[in-house]
């Protein structure tokens, strides 16, 4: 089992290394831009004004980062699963002498870990804002980003599910879930606007990760409609 996980991880890394490295570069670049922009605003308007804006007017310094997890999640899923499906490699992989659920969980686990690592680096860099704002407010800013990170994971899982699904018309069945979840999670940039939606976020992540398993069974059994 350990060998299976290692082998699959190595294979996936070999396939997606450019996308993952590119994601790191993009995330670090965007975070550095956000920090430079924030420092520039502090020099221009004064730290007191900026911090007061965050406290009173709900200014979100990380607003530019909003769509980054979603886009990276989609790219990673495309880069990971399209070669699997077009070359029928996924069918061979699922016929390995292991439970297909474990195999797909390993594949999705690789993607989730890679995406989480990229976004974690971004969030670690964002902590540099703590040099300028009190800890209470840094907490307030960072927690507000969680819905966007959840949106990235949901996009990864649902795009993977869409790619695995063998019948093109059934891919549309995932549209209501994807659009509704993304719309709710990305609706409001106001910090902590989704602080009462933890249950909904967990529900949407769980459902999004169930979709690839359902489509995998259809793919492996050769359903054409």
């Amino acid at each position: 089992m350990k060998t299976l996980i290692q082998s699959i991880f190595y294979r996936e890394w070999h396939k997606t290394r450019l996308i993952v490295i590119g994601s790191f570069v993009v995330t670090i670049s965007i975070m550095l831009y956000i920090l430079l922009s924030f420092a520039h605003d502090v020099r221009a308007s004064g730290l007191t004004t900026i911090v007061r804006d965050i406290a009173v007017n709900n200014l979100q310094p990380l607003a530019i980062f909003k769509l980054v997890p979603t886009i990276l999640g989609a790219l990673l899923a495309i880069g990971q699963f399209i070669p699997e499906v077009t070359d029928d490699k996924l069918k061979l992989t699922l016929h390995l002498p292991f439970n297909e659920h474990y195999i797909l969980a390993t594949l999705l686990g690789y993607g989730t870990l890679a995406l989480s690592a990229v976004l974690s680096v971004g969030m670690l860099l964002s902590m540099i804002i703590g040099k300028y704002v009190p800890f209470t407010m840094l907490n307030y800013i960072i927690i507000s980003v969680h819905p966007w990170l959840a949106s990235g994971l949901i996009t990864y899982a649902l795009v993977a599910a869409s790619i695995i699904e063998p019948y093109w018309a059934r891919r549309i069945s995932l549209l209501p879930i994807m659009l509704t979840f993304q719309f709710i999670l990305l609706l409001d940039s106001q910090p902590m606007a989704l602080s009462e939606s933890w249950l909904f976020m967990i529900f949407s992540i769980v459902v999004s990760y169930i979709a690839p398993f359902y489509n995998m069974i259809r793919y492996k059994n050769g359903y054409i409609k």
Binding site: G46, L47, T48, V51, R52, I54, A55, V56, N58, H101, K131, Y132, V133, P134, T136, M137, Y140, R170, I172, S173, L175, P176, I177, L179, T180, F181, F183, I184, L187, D188, Q190, P191, M192, A193, L194, S195, E196, S197, F200, F203, V207, I210, A211, F213, Y214, I217, R218, N221, G222, Y223, I224, K225
Partner: protein
């Protein structure tokens, strides 16, 4: 495969849930028209509530009997609203209701307050700017400090991002000396820097006691207002007046409004507004006051209530109700959507899907959808799933569209 069935039902439920949220939202966006009510104010000359329509240039004023007045009559009948026009034409009366009316008097008694649950029920950073209430220079009351007041009191210097231990200790000691019990339930004040003066914040401690907190000459000022109410205080809505005599409006948990001032002895005084209770979590209130009367407008789902209260005693002078006009959304949603789940609950700035209403009248539309499902199943010779039929009868369009998006007819 049993597990495949479980996945299928979970996805079906999720799709149905998403459609139940998104379709009413889109239909609401396409069909909802916000209510438009005429401006209703108290006329000090007619001593009754009148309707004002600024779009009618010829007869902007209509009284309660339906009689219309010209623009110059409107100016004379509403002198406290049109005082600038009357003063420019030298037609301003010397007194109204035995009160001297010069420009300074009129402006100093004007007050405007907006009360809505969304202003209170919104995400907050829990850090509040410290303003100097007795600045040495006029309009220079902004300081470099913010304070946090929830589980404990903290003061930060935001110019240097430094946790000021000395000021924190002074602030904490002052709070404890006045028997403030942590954590604070809420802290509300005017955080805008574009204001003429600052009087600090009002905070409700854990035991429901209301405190007044401000910064005076660089030192914390904390006082227990001793304003008590059997149902507890829901929120505080600050306002500024040129006379500096009104702190704001307190709203109790049972929906009563009170004006907060200082009495002759310097003690805090809450004077109740003589009007019916409102719903603190749903109703919106607008108060426009002058030297003679306060016009209090309460917007409820069924319509708009306007009350005219005496500016001094806050006793009821007149009231009026204008029913809401039903728009297309109001007419159709109860027949089509058995469940209405909104992404943003009315009265809150938080984003969270919440069930707003259950419409039993939609059962007829659900029956039509159930028939459509049966006809389709018969036409293609598919077996009728009774759980699917029951879901359509109960959940309506959400279940019907979910089954259309995710049919269970896997074909190899």
């Amino acid at each position: 495969m049993r597990i495949a069935k479980s996945y299928y039902y979970i996805l079906l439920f999720a799709i149905g849930f998403c459609i139940t949220i998104s379709v009413p939202y889109l239909v609401h966006m396409a069909t909802y028209t916000p209510q438009k009510y005429p401006l209703v104010l108290y006329s000090s000359q007619l001593r009754e509530l009148v309707h004002i329509d600024y779009s009618d240039k010829e007869f902007p004023l209509t009284d309660k009997n339906g009689k219309k007045y010209t623009t110059s009559q409107f100016d004379s009948l509403m002198p406290l609203l049109n005082y600038k026009q009357l003063m420019a034409e030298n037609k301003m009366p010397d007194s109204i209701h035995w009160l001297r009316t010069d420009m300074r008097m009129i402006v100093s008694y004007q007050i405007a307050v907006n009360i809505s649950a969304e202003r209170v029920n919104k995400p907050q950073s829990m850090a509040y700017p410290v303003f100097e209430s007795l600045p040495t220079r006029v309009n220079e009351f902004a300081t470099d400090y913010v304070f946090c007041l929830n589980e404990d009191a903290e003061v930060y210097n935001i110019a240097t991002n430094y946790y000021d231990t000395e000021k924190t200790a002074i602030f904490r000691n002052e709070l404890l000396k006045n028997k403030f019990v942590f954590p604070a339930q809420w802290v509300i004040g005017n955080t805008d820097t574009y204001k003429t003066y600052d009087y600090g914040y009002f905070s409700l401690d854990a035991e429901g006691k209301l405190f007044h907190i401000k910064c005076v000459n660089g030192k914390p000022f904390v006082r227990n207002t001793h304003l008590e109410n059997s149902s507890g205080w829901h929120s505080f809505h600050p306002c500024e007046t040129l006379r500096h005599n009104v702190y704001g409006i307190l709203l109790s948990n049972d929906g009563r409004l009170a004006r907060v001032t200082l009495d002759a002895n310097g003690a805090y005084y809450a004077q109740w507004l003589d009007m019916p209770n409102i719903d603190p979590d749903n109703d919106a209130v607008r108060i426009l006051g002058n030297i003679v009367a306060w016009n209090v407008t309460v917007s409820k789902p069924e319509g708009e209530y306007t009350y005219a209260l005496s500016a001094w005693a806050l006793s009821l002078l007149a009231s009026e109700f204008i029913p809401a006009q039903k728009c297309t959304w109001d007419n159709i949603n109860k027949w089509i959507f058995p469940l209405v789940i909104l992404i943003k609950e009315p009265g809150s700035s938080f984003v969270s899907p919440k069930l707003i209403s259950v419409n039993y009248d939609a059962i007829w539309f659900n029956i039509v959808l159930a028939f459509a499902y049966l006809i389709r199943k018969r036409r293609y010779g598919s077996p009728i799933k009774w759980y699917a039929l029951m879901s359509i009868l109960v959940f309506g369009i959400g279940a019907f569209m979910a089954m259309a998006f995710l049919p269970k007819n896997d074909v190899r």
